[in-house]
């Protein structure tokens, strides 16, 4: 899969930046795209007529991409073509929020499923939710093998709420509400300070999961990585004063030479 860097989308962003003079993140939403249509071939994704992803295969997910807040036209084409969109939808995104837009369902019924993703991680905890994107899979629960359900009644195209857990390696399973195991997920490692979405994808007979990071604990500011010992400074008045004193001295000397020359 190839992401187009420096695309027209970026140009739009730059323009938005220049127009407002405000930092990009405050006006942008973050959007990532997931190919979750099991029988669809590789696709190209266009936002507002500009290619943002090329050749994304089934199960591919992009990183979050900054997109200006507002309405956007999302079009998905078979890779390498730009004639007939299999999906053409408008999606509205809000500044400062993160979204996943998944091309879901079988090709015949292909549709864009959009979810808002958490941007809030908790230090020392892990957060997780389930996105059911397997078109023909039944309503399922996700829980500990031989234990309680953590998420109940997940249906196709639905996302559960996030659940905050202690970081650990969990023996999970996807099961029908009557307890029949659909998929063994033992050894699922959920790490501290992270937020995950676990997408159940593919058809029911080939069910599998795609685990994506939604967010993580982040600083609110950049680190202070210098003490100034080898850098020029802005408000170093002493240097300026020395420079002017030296400058005056040179002028005075020049004037003196000129006078004595006569």
């Amino acid at each position: 899969m190839k992401k187009i860097v420096g695309s027209a989308l970026a140009a739009v962003m730059m323009f938005a930046l220049m127009a407002t003079g405000v930092f990009a993140e405050s006006n942008d939403a973050m959007v990532r795209i997931v190919h979750a249509s099991p029988d669809a071939q590789a696709v190209d994704v266009y936002v507002d007529g500009n290619a943002v992803v090329e050749g994304a295969e089934f199960k591919a997910a992009t990183d979050y991409m900054p997109v200006p807040a507002g309405e956007h036209k999302v079009e998905i084409f078979a890779a390498g073509t730009k004639d007939n969109a299999v999906i053409s939808q408008t999606v509205t995104v809000e500044a400062g929020k993160a979204y996943t837009a998944a091309a879901a369902n079988t090709l015949e019924m292909i549709e864009l499923v959009v979810a808002e993703d958490s941007m809030q991680a908790t230090e020392g905890k892990t957060k997780v939710r389930i996105g059911h994107l397997s078109p023909d899979a039944p309503t399922v629960d996700i829980g500990l093998i031989g234990g309680d359900a953590l998420f109940s009644g997940a249906t196709f195209k639905a996302f559960t709420d996030y659940k905050e857990l202690d970081p650990n390696t969990y023996d999970l399973e996807i099961r029908t509400p009557d307890g029949t195991q659909v998929l063994d997920l033992s050894g699922t490692k959920l790490e501290a300070n992270m937020v995950y979405s676990v997408y159940a994808i593919n058809t029911a007979d080939k069910l599998e999961v795609l685990v994506l990071q939604d967010s993580m604990v982040m600083p609110s500011e950049m680190p202070k990585t210098g003490m100034g010992g080898a850098s020029e400074s802005t408000t170093d008045y002493t240097t300026g004063i020395i420079a002017s004193v030296v400058g005056l001295g040179v002028l005075a000397f020049a004037a003196y030479r000129k006078r004595t020359a006569h």
Binding site: E25, Q41, E57, T62, D63, Y64, P66, E75, A78, T81, D83, N84, A85, S88, T90, V91, L107, L112, V114, A115, M119, A154, K157, A158, F159, T160, D184, S186, G187, T188, N193, N202, K206, L207, E208, V209, L210, L212, Q213, D214, S215, M216, M218, P219, S220, E221, M222, P223, K224, T225, G226, M227, G228, G229, A230, S231, E232, S233, T234, T235
Partner: protein
Amino acid sequence: MKHLWVIAIFLLGSCSAGNNSLSTNETAKQELTQIATVTTSHMINKDKNLPKETSSDPVLTGIDPERIEIPLLEVDALIDGQGLNKKGQMEVPDNGKDVGWFELGVKPGARGNAVIAGHVDDYKGPAVFFYLKKLKAGDLVHVYNKAGEKVSFKVERVVAYEKDEAPIREIFGPSRDGRLNLITCTGLYDRKSNEHEKRLVVYTKRIDS
């Protein structure tokens, strides 16, 4: 159970000028089906010893970073784990020779953006990341753990941001790739606020070693 998904408006009739887009859409789907090949052969795994196979992703394992090496700059420095201070800033070593790994984030080599920050200068002169701005796309960065295991990264781009305008989520946030971003200060040193006006970020991505 909350249904967060939204069905946005299908722009039927506006896909392409002059076409009946309903049939257009059907044609496209047919094309896509015809060229579709079976890419999903296995993935269901009944063996309980290999649960990771139920996931679509190869596992990218990170390491507990002990030492960083940047051959081009002749940098070879020890790495300290660092968290957040009360202001919510990433903390950094109090000396100019070591660098700090943001240990609340991911480990270098694992999926996500790992971050290592180092000083450009100390009170007296140049510090460990003084020449970081000389890095260019393609240059290499190596990180080692205590046991000497190495994960290597390739520089993708180098960007300087005003101190308060760096894209924090892009630098510290989630990613599908194993990324490592190096941070130091750059620009003029502001003697009033006692810090540099800009931050330099070297974006790197894991390469298979």
